[in-house]
Symmetry: C2
Subunit: 141 residues, 2 copies
DNA sequence: AGTCAACTGTTGCATACGCAAGCTTCTCTG
DNA sequence: CAGAGAAGCTTGCGTATGCAACAGTTGACT
């Protein structure tokens, strides 16, 4: 049964290393950029980000702190509910995503393409899609 | 493509939470117990553990420190090569593994059984096995 | 209106990990 | 056989993260 653990950590470690080395971003941060790019107004509530990237609320707070410091996102207020604050994608964040995303996809395809053919890839995708319903993976407008 | 990572990480977070809550062990620690239980003399070199559980050498040092503190493993010297030190499974460690492993396997099968039938499970295992092997054997880019 | 539970977000503390540097020991080469 | 370099391991430091506690806000129920 250990192959589950092994496959997960092997993939994420390899992809994360490349991402950090080439672009200075973690996978969670890229995921946030992608989610925001596809969201209306390029903005999401922090609590929703928390669910979608599977981080605790405090983890999201700190990740967005980092991303604000580098100018990738901004904070936005909510007029209807003073509790919530939005994460809003900046122009710089959008540019960064468009710079990073092709490399990231290429890395994934290189890793998986070395051992899987197209049919197996589709099988795998179909199986895993049932585990966690995820957004499609193209940056939004 | 992000669903590959997302699905795995959703599963492993769930499994890890159960493991920590019910038995006070991380998945890496369980993996170490399992590897040692299958190894000759119930012992392995730290460097080999490092590769098998995909942790850095320093990560292994600290994990084994924790496991020694709770009596699950012991340190062993190597007479032929004074550089290497072994991690050796104790009786307590063996007992712990026998206590933990059935629960862990049951949790995995429960989580996956909710979504897959037996045939799909075998497909998935086969595919994931190759992910782990492939990345592990990479010469380094 | 008043109260209280639920929700959103942040902060203090603890933890697990990686990387770079260092130490010791081994091995290989000239 | 001496020195260089590799191998195994540990340590110092930085970082990403979770949990628990907290504060502010909202809404629901009395």
């Amino acid at each position: 049964m250990g192959q589950l653990i092994g496959a997960h950590s092997a993939l994420t470690q390899e992809l994360s290393a490349q991402l950090v080395e080439q672009h200075g971003l973690t996978m969670s941060e890229v995921e946030v950029l992608l989610l925001l790019s596809r969201a209306p107004e390029h903005s999401m509530r922090r609590i929703d980000l928390s669910r979608d990237v599977r981080l605790s609320p405090s983890g999201v707070t700190r990740m967005l702190d980092r991303m604000e410091a580098t100018g990738l996102v901004e904070k936005g207020a909510c007029k209807q509910d003073a509790r919530v604050s939005y994460a809003v994608l900046t122009e710089a964040g959008m540019s960064k995503l468009q710079e990073v995303w092709p490399d990231h996809v290429a890395a994934i395809e290189r890793l998986l393409g070395e051992r899987f053919d197209a049919r197996e890839l589709n099988e795998l995708k179909e199986l895993l899609n049932r585990v966690a319903d995820q957004v499609e993976c193209e940056p939004g407008s």
